[in-house]
Symmetry: C2
Subunit: 446 residues, 2 copies
């Protein structure tokens, strides 16, 4: 199918609008911005992600001959317009806040300046790419905050929404501070550490649980993590203790056990006691099964001796908030700011920048959204140029860079924003210049 | 990236288990089944979808040389195992309930019988493929039930979770009874009707709204649907009325208007009056913006004169239930039934079939889950063989077939299950033979 590489992965209206623009000769410079209208009620902040994939999409944007031919059969488009489409490339400039940056409502996270048709035609896939990873990174970071120092692994590929969702969720979770993923392709594609050992079916395919443990350990002696909840968790923990000396004689160490059902916190305590009493004090306990940041927080508060967590479905579907109220809106065309006034969906017009200000201790104080050309604004500008004339500007960032960036920013967040519970809102101010512009436009009926 | 075609789109533990099976020579016949443990609280039934993509995946399954080479660098796998992996294909049998079939908790929807390693290695992507479309079809059908006779169009690509999610959501929604999608690639890939005209940016890029309407109509004279909420919806409706005679002189008919913000039901009433008073009684009203089945039901109950709906994000993310509690579990190995007893995750063992029974009026009465070889079961068997020896059996079904199947089944559903509100549960019985088997296994401690 290769859908992710097709320029047809778009809404029909992008093409019908483009034909109208083409017919009208409207190709002046336009600026569109992608922003999130509101930080959702169950998030205190958002984490930008997906920019790398967006740049790759824009650099390679174009319709194939076969796609153009098919479009010609629809009856909507003139041959002359199809010919124009076949040559269309993205030649614009892009500014964006770097991946791993914390951001808030109404702040432009991607700003595209290009001839109107180019800036328009990319809308659907641009949102599709950036929203997904931003949703997942913003969810994943909450587990990172809930379980400091614990091993966190993405287990969510199977119930992610398709192939790309699984792959990009692994990337976004790692960017947000996870230690790795079970997703092998994500390991290959992005260099993310991969984790995993066995499923229940492995135990069930054997006639005897202890026998299954032993055979598995012999097959993968360097990475023995045994799943102990298929039948009776505490009995299985006893079997692990019984098996350890025999494996030790073969120089095989049981690194850990995994719990995947039942009351994980209570079971972990009992299993810890069994392992410790059996001399396996170095054997770790890893938990999985319907986990999210709230479960992690609850278990760790209850003192559960769990060393790591596999977090799956609720992470990769961002179950409690599977989308963001985001929009990619025209802010300026032919040198004039533009403003949508649809009820509840008004936008801040013009080409913009976001400035972040810190207190004397380096903690984040507030952000200011301002016109890009507005003079005298203090603070750290968040948007940087990442493409010029359709080509990447500067070096490609590594995932390690992005992880470091986010880790640094988490350390500068006001404390209550780092909690799982909803905190008071972070202040996002609108600059004087931008407020004056809106007043001027509204009073002129523009 | 082409992730959807890679056998590496899997969890690492599938590979580590396979190496253990390979080392132990465990390659007897295994049967795994995919089922959903519970119908979610906000669904009355589920709709099976995604089987076609699963068959395509299984028919083409295999590791490339480059993938094998990369796996060899990880340090987990022996060269001998990698060589085995490079030759691995799926050669098994698959039974499944056809796409567009209504189903309930614990009913196997896909049953795979194959040598153990083959049946195991496909697990992650099998779930990933089938769950996504089943989630979306089960969500989409609720809008179909809430708005009978209305035009329903999927608008959700931009906030779907990536490329494959957007594409497959369009397919699943169409299968469930939607009329089409805005997703151009879905139109090309699956022959789904595509819809769409203009965005707010088109209006905003023009200096005058009425001028934008006129130019657009001239560019796409056969499909004039005008977006009227960019500034003031009622004023814009007046502009449409004013424009109509001038366009009529050019033989251009305004087919409809679209509302995308504000109180859609109230606005629709006012707009209808303006259009009717202006003689545009044939001009339809189409609504979009944060819609789902509850909004549709509310607006139509309130008598909103809306002819069609564009349903986006809440559909393609299945916002209120973005995943199913589904599992793919070993049910039989080497001729012996297998049963997981993890707390809350017990499975019904053995190779199974589902029988559906109807009352005298042809309405669905209850389903029975039974052993596949259990004699004397009455009712319509739901699982059919779709693959034999790794190859498709029978003709490829069309989306039209699947739509017809679902439409027919909706007509036979008990009435309260067709409501948006939660109904009483549909009865899914467990056959005597299956119950006896479980008692036997539990008392033998198997």
């Amino acid at each position: 199918m290769n859908g992710e590489n097709s320029a047809l992965l778009t809404d029909l209206y992008q093409l019908t609008m483009l034909q109208a623009y083409h017919r009208e000769g409207m190709a002046d410079t336009a600026t569109f911005e992608l922003f999130v209208r509101k930080v959702p009620p169950n998030r205190n902040f958002l984490v930008a992600a997906g920019l790398e994939q967006l740049i790759e999409f824009l650099e390679s944007f174009g319709f194939s001959d076969e796609e153009c031919e098919w479009l010609g059969t629809l009856g909507y488009f003139t041959p002359e317009f199809i010919d124009y489409l076949s040559k269309l490339r993205f030649t614009g400039d892009v500014h964006a806040i770097p991946e791993g940056t914390i951001f808030f409502q109404n702040e432009p996270i991607v700003r595209v300046t290009a001839p109107l048709p180019e800036a328009q035609i990319i809308e659907t896939r641009l949102i599709n790419i950036v929203q997904l990873q931003t949703v997942i990174a913003s969810k994943a970071v909450r587990s990172v905050l809930a379980a400091p120092g614990k091993l966190l692994v993405d287990f969510g590929l199977r119930r992610a929404h398709g192939a790309e969702a699984g792959l990009m969720a692994a990337r976004a979770a790692y960017l947000a501070g996870f230690d790795g993923t079970s997703n092998v392709l994500a390991g290959k594609s992005f260099g993310i550490p991969i984790y995993g050992t066995m499923a229940h079916s492995y135990i069930m395919a054997h006639d005897d649980e202890a026998d299954a443990f032993e055979r598995f350990a012999e097959s993968l002696p360097g990475n023995v993590l045994l799943l102990i909840d298929t039948y009776d968790t505490l009995e299985a923990a006893g079997k692990v203790v019984g098996l350890a000396p025999r494996l030790a004689a073969k120089n095989i160490v049981i690194k850990g056990v995994r719990l995947d059902s039942g009351d994980l916190a209570e079971l972990a305590k009992s299993v810890r006691t069994i392992l410790d009493d059996g001399g396996l004090t170095e054997c770790t306990i890893f938990a999985s099964g319907d986990l999210d940041e709230h479960e992690l927080s609850r278990m760790l508060t209850a003192g559960a001796p769990i060393d790591g967590f596999g977090i799956g479905t609720r992470l990769t579907t961002s179950q409690d908030m599977p989308y963001l109220n985001c929009a990619y809106k025209l802010q300026e065309y032919a040198g004039r700011p533009r403003r949508k006034r649809s009820k509840g969906k008004e936008n801040w017009p013009a080409r913009k920048q976001v400035y972040r200000r810190y207190d004397d201790e380096g903690r984040m104080l507030h952000d200011v959204i301002a016109k890009d050309d507005e003079p005298g604004l203090e603070g750290e500008p968040l948007l940087r140029q990442v493409m010029a004339g359709g080509k990447r500007v500067g070096a490609r960032e590594t995932l390690a860079d992005m992880r470091d960036r986010l880790r640094g920013q988490l350390g500068r967040l006001p404390h209550d924003l780092t909690l799982i519970e909803k905190s008071s809102a972070y202040a996002v101010l609108i600059s004087d210049g931008l407020q004056r512009l809106v007043q001027r436009m509204d009073s002129a009926g523009l």
